[in-house]
Amino acid sequence: MVNLNAVLLVSFLLFSIGIVGVLIRRNALVILMCVELMLNAANLNFIAFARHSGSVSGQAFALLVMGFAAAEVAVGLALVVALYRKRDTVQVDDINLLKG
């Protein structure tokens, strides 16, 4: 039986990697993948706590999140493709139309 804390630590690291990736990477595809990392960190938390508390609802949540994530990636990739077609780039640095 793996220690709950160890799992939470992994989950934390995973989430941190995700958030740092979102904030510092420039490629929109990579940012999308980092968002997936953050979601999976959250899933890991759900499953860990479900195992720890003996309830299955947490696992059900994890399945739900996976479904959401799939939908989200589909939408996100579509956006990236549209963006690439429009601007010939997927570097978020170059996309600053909202600059004041």
Binding site: L23, I24, I31, V92, D93, I95, N96, L97, G100
Partner: protein, 784 residues
């Protein structure tokens, strides 16, 4: 007033016959003008131009003749044909003496005893002059100006016919201005030459001065009579003359006073058109035009319009003794002064020009003495002989290759006999030798003037008549002299233009080309003003100059040694001969009563009787036996046997018998100043220049500077004020208005800078802020 008083003119008014073809007489030449003027430029063949120009005037002449024959067939007091075409304009509502005018000016023609004669003269002489022009203007056929000349001539004939045939003063005025325009156009025909353009302008401006007087005159007539129709005026003049007082423009005076004023104003107009002192100056300069123009303007037509006007309005003048005296005074002065100017001219056209001025003076003398028919008769005889002389001189000039200086002519009688004979006959006529026409007309005038003083042996007439008669006699002497001089210098002796000049009379010609360079009076003192003595002194030198000149200027062929002029073509000599023939026999149309008694075979005073219905009768017509006084025969014999032949023989003796002209030269040497004055026409042009034109020019220069500095200054000043104001407004707009708007904008921009910095547009910045927000939220929850 007695019942048997004949108001012949009133009867004529009543008995006027309508005629439907009258309008064609003036309008045919007008159509000719339109056709030639509008299409002549495109016509390659100038024969077509000839066809329309001569055809229209020729048919007009035949129509005039036809009407004239109709007129002869009518009873004496009903000799009048009229045609009213349309109402020209309505002057109803104008305030005239005796209330409101209801008068409508008609475009109407009237063919009566006077206008009929004048129309015959204008169209007849006009046709001959057209015919002459076809020969004289032959050079112009090639350079595209020919149609223009013919169109102008047609327009001239139209205007002149309109002047004489018009049934009211307005129609006369239309023609009056029309001939003024045409003389301007014709004199300035060679407008590329400056002197011709200047001469045209001079004629036009001088005539305008006269026209102003004429206009004032007929405005006054309209004010007094309320009408401009000759018939109405004649019918009502007696009534007006019997009014006690006439008040116009706040001035009250007797009708005679007003008639005098009208007469004087109208005479100013006549002075301009008929070239009387002081407005005669344009006429000698009119020599700048082609010679047919000179003949047309001088002899036949334009200059007679003043006389026609006075005869037409004789009912005014008969009631205006002062105006008549003015006419007599100016007429006699002109007759004498212009004749003396003719004595010292060398240009053949100039001699004739001054001669014309002088003869016109004679006509006015006759009118001034109240002898309208005598003055009018001189118009006709003068038209014959002067047109003949002018066209003859044109033929001479053309034959001598546009040489106009008589000193370079001579001996032409052998070379062009028809022209020479015609001109010699015309000279006899103008000199007043019995039985040529000039004798009958001129002596009638002089007799009437003398009679005005003589008063059937009472010697009670005004002294003015005696003075005028003396001036007239002197003028007649000068006339006979200068005309014989012209003939002797031109037709006798050797042809000096051919280099055959043993006495050195030739001079370097300034009068070259179709025209008269000496029209510019600047030349007066040193150009033609060469005394013969100078010509002789310089003659070798000048002959050399001729050769140089000839080499320099290929167009200059006036002196070609060995070249002789020859007779001109029939188109040119025929009109000269026809007119000379008329000049010979024309006088018998007004054969004087006194000679009728001696030679009863010739009917007496045809012309006077013919024109009598038109003349206003002050007193009952005198039908009793009129025994001419012996003195009339005496004066006649004196004039035609001693006076005129004496002058002719004197000129003959000086210029023909002695081919060296030594007496003339001696005379000039003896009185150099006298010669210079006469040759320079008494410096009248210079006087006008100094006394009128120069002050006018200075005055207009002052007006110009007033205009430049004051009027323009005000305008420019207003512009400058506006400009400065606009500058100010511009500044206000730019700095105050735009400034405040810009300031608001600037402030908004500046104040938004800090917020603008937040909006980097980078999605990761936003995500980072959002993440920080989560952290803060989580931290706050953790603490709470």
């Amino acid at each position: 007033m007695s019942a048997d008083m004949t108001l012949a003119h009133a009867a004529a008014t009543a008995a006027s016959q309508p005629s439907s073809l009258l309008w064609l007489i003036p309008f045919l030449p007008f159509f000719g003008f339109l056709i030639n003027g509008l299409s002549g430029r495109k016509l390659r063949n100038t024969t077509v131009v000839d066809f329309f120009a001569l055809g229209s005037v020729g048919i007009a002449f035949l129509l005039t003749l036809w009407h004239f024959i109709q007129l002869i067939g009518l009873p004496a007091d009903g000799r009048s044909l009229h045609q009213s075409l349309w109402t020209w304009f309505n002057v109803g509502g104008a305030h005239v003496l005796g209330g409101m005018s209801t008068y409508k000016i008609e475009w109407a023609y009237k063919f009566d005893v006077l206008s009929g004669c004048m129309a015959l003269l204008v169209s007849g002489a006009g046709f001959l002059i057209h015919l002459f022009s076809t020969g004289y203007m032959a050079e112009e056929r090639n350079d595209g100006r020919y149609y223009r000349f013919m169109a102008y001539l047609n327009l001239f004939v139209f205007s002149m016919l309109n002047l004489v045939l018009g049934a009211n003063i307005m129609m006369m005025f239309l023609g009056w201005e029309g001939v003024g325009l045409c003389s301007y156009l014709l004199i300035g025909f060679y407008f590329e030459k400056e002197f011709a353009a200047v001469a045209g302008k001079k004629a036009f401006v001088t005539n305008r001065i006269g026209d102003f007087g004429f206009m004032l005159g007929f405005f006054l007539i309209f004010q007094v009579f309320g009408s401009l129709d000759y018939d109405t005026l004649m019918g009502s003049v007696r009534e007006v003359a019997n009014l006690p007082l006439i008040t116009l423009f706040g001035h009250t005076a007797s009708p005679t006073w007003w008639f005098n004023l009208i007469g004087c104003c109208l005479f100013v107009g006549a002075m301009g058109k008929s070239a009387q002192i002081p407005l005669y100056v344009w006429l000698p300069d009119a020599m700048a035009g082609p010679t047919p123009v000179s003949a047309l303007i001088h002899a036949a037509t334009m200059v007679t319009s003043g006389l026609y006007m006075i005869t037409r309005l004789n009912f005014i003048y008969v009631n205006a003794p002062v105006a008549l005296a003015v006419v007599l005074a100016f007429g006699s002065l002109t007759a004498f002064v212009a004749a003396t100017m003719g004595l010292a001219q060398y240009d053949i056209k100039k001699v004739l020009a001054y001669s014309t001025v002088s003869q016109l003076g004679f006509m006015f003398m006759g009118m001034g003495a109240g002898a309208f028919s005598a003055g009018m008769f001189h118009v006709f005889t003068h038209a014959f002989f002067k047109a003949s002389l002018f066209l003859g001189s044109g033929a001479v000039i053309a034959a001598c290759h546009h040489e106009q200086d008589m000193r370079n002519m001579g001996g032409l009688k052998k070379l062009m006999p028809i022209t020479a004979m015609s001109m010699i006959l015309a000279t006899f006529a103008i000199a007043g030798i019995f039985p040529f026409s000039g004798f009958f007309s001129k002596d009638e005038i002089l007799w009437k003037v003398f009679e005005g003083w003589y008063q059937h042996g009472h010697y009670t007439g005004p002294t003015l008549n005696l003075v005028a008669w003396i001036l007239g006699m002197l003028g007649a002497f000068c006339t006979a002299f200068y005309m014989t001089r012209l003939i002797a210098m031109t037709f006798y002796g050797n042809y000096r233009g051919g280099g055959e000049d043993p006495y050195g009379h030739t001079v370097q010609s300034e009068a070259h080309g179709h025209d008269d360079h000496a029209a510019h009076d600047d030349h007066g003192a040193h150009g033609h003003g060469h005394a013969p003595v100078h010509a002789q002194e310089n003659h070798v030198h000048e002959l050399d100059q001729h050769h140089d000149h000839h080499v320099d200027d290929p167009e200059d062929h006036d002196i070609v040694p060995g070249h002789h002029p020859h007779e001109v073509s029939w188109r040119m000599w025929l009109p000269v001969a026809v007119l000379a023939g008329l000049a010979v026999v024309g006088g018998f149309l007004n054969y004087p009563e006194s000679l009728h008694r001696v030679l009863p075979i010739v009917p007496a005073e045809l012309f006077s009787k013919w024109i009598e219905p038109l003349l206003y009768q002050v007193a009952p017509a005198h039908h009793g036996e009129h025994i001419p006084p012996t003195i009339e025969y005496g004066l006649m014999a004196w004039a035609t046997l001693i006076w005129a032949p004496g002058a002719m023989l004197l000129a003959w003796w000086i210029y023909k018998v002695d081919p060296t002209w030594s007496r003339a030269i001696a005379f000039v040497e003896r009185f150099p100043n006298l010669f210079r004055w006469v040759n320079a026409k008494y410096y009248v042009d210079e006087f006008y220049d100094a006394a009128i034109i120069e002050p006018l020019k200075r005055f207009s220069a002052q007006l110009w500077s007033f205009d430049t500095w004051v009027v323009d200054g005000m305008v420019n000043g207003a512009a400058r004020v506006t400009l400065i104001w606009a500058e100010l407004m511009h500044w206000v707009d730019e700095y105050l208005i735009d400034g405040s708007v810009d300031l608001v904008e600037y402030m908004v921009q500046e104040s938004s800078a800090v917020f603008r910095g937040l909006q980097t547009g980078r999605v990761q910045h936003y995500a980072f802020v959002m993440f920080l927000g989560f952290l803060v939220f989580a931290f706050w929850k953790f603490i709470a």
